[in-house]
Assembly symmetry: C2
Homo-oligomer: 249 residues x 2
């Protein structure tokens, strides 16, 4: 694929921005296909493609039989914001912070080796941090990396900022990530750091990140105080939801 | 928009099915753009558009500088499965069940009126059910409808099956939905029905559903036993995630 945006991507980006700036307000109809074609000097194909993209992102209604309308609560999150708590905070207008508990080089146990797709007892680097939101405890973060990735962290001050930015600037290739979201009770470490009772409900986000060629780069476990963070998405009839509920049973 | 699928949608549907049937296996490269063009007698535009759709759904890698590969853990969920627990169970190979606790017609309090976008004290219909997964308690469901929607339920046996299917077949127009996911401790009702201690961490999914013209159709609160359900999604570099983390602070 070329490095320049295709026309449908340009149109989608324009509309996404206009919606996020409320130039197209929630509840109001989006300009018609014909109007968008005229505005972008485009044929119908790219305009329809851009609208399909916005539907898959939950920004506009299905348009079945009527005008397409702009939906309320339209957040999307950049890939950087998905991977990096620091980046997410900044995008959301909050001040991120961190208090490192430990950076550990050790052999992987069975579970971690499976999560990182490496042999048991292979060396890994684990980072354990309390994360702050505007200076207040918000999340307990457990990051694990195979040594060829984690070695970049052994000489890095993990209290100084974003590990993700440091890995990217060290040349680590992070292409995609899987997140699994559930609820869990605070363990003794979580309780101490978040200043709550053991067993307090926390929102847990486990993430595995992969390189372009499918190597596992990271396996992490983030636990948020409820009231600090929740997840929101819109789903539009006719569009499969990329967020899938799965059962452990 | 026409009622027939556009070519990029046909290609996306074909690839989505082939991936879910593991004909294109996780970790393996997807056929190249040229191969796909040949197979579908298509120009590059629709093939690229279909691949963009699959990326936004988290099914394939970003393809930056290399072959695009099929990703692991590729669930997507149909719109019916998002709205209906019964439908989700069936799609996932589980037997859904329900034990109705109450169906209530009452005036909306302030909070519910705001959630349903109606005047306080307007009549609403509320359904409170324990939901089962393969016969075992799995989720506590609280559904609330404005009277013009909920009236279809006042004469319906809510132990007989899917409320969603009943509403659809009654002509209710459900076009899109917003879900907010967080963690909450079991209250006294949750604890009794799910047979756990009060305060046990539950995964909460609050949903608001809307008609094509933006009217609020439903406001609901589902609370899952952890170990019963979690949420999973893939996010690909270059694609905004439709699942956005939001902070209450």
């Amino acid at each position: 694929m070329g490095t320049t945006l295709q026309q449908h991507q340009e149109i989608a980006a324009f509309l996404r921005n206009a919606i996020s700036r409320k130039e197209f307000a929630p509840g109001e109809p989006l300009p018609s296909e014909s109007e968008l074609c005229e505005r972008f000097h485009s044929s119908r194909g790219p305009v329809r493609q851009a609208m399909a993209t916005l539907r898959s992102e939950g920004l506009i209604s299905s348009g079945r039989g009527r005008r397409t309308i702009v939906l309320d609560t339209v957040p999307t999150q950049s890939f950087d914001g998905v991977i990096s708590y620091s980046e997410w905070c900044r995008q959301s207008g909050f001040e991120p912070g961190q208090v490192t508990q430990s950076v550990t080089r050790r052999p992987a146990d069975e579970a971690l080796a499976a999560a990182l797709d490496i042999e048991p007892k292979s060396p890994v680097v684990s980072v354990f941090r309390l994360r702050l939101l505007n200076g207040v405890p918000a999340m307990v973060e457990r990051l694990n990396y195979p040594l060829d990735v984690g070695r970049h962290l052994l000489t890095f001050d993990t209290d100084s900022g974003s590990i993700y930015q440091h890995l990217i600037s060290s040349g680590v290739d992070i292409d995609n990530a899987t997140r699994t979201i559930d609820a869990v009770g605070a363990d003794a470490d979580d309780a101490r750091l978040l200043e709550v009772a053991e067993g307090t409900p926390l929102l847990r986000v486990r993430r595995r990140a992969f390189s372009s060629n499918g190597n596992t780069i990271e396996s992490s476990d983030d636990r948020y105080l409820p009231g600090t963070a929740s997840f929101t998405l819109n789903t539009i009839r006719g569009n499969p939801s990329p967020l899938s509920m799965v059962s452990a049973r």
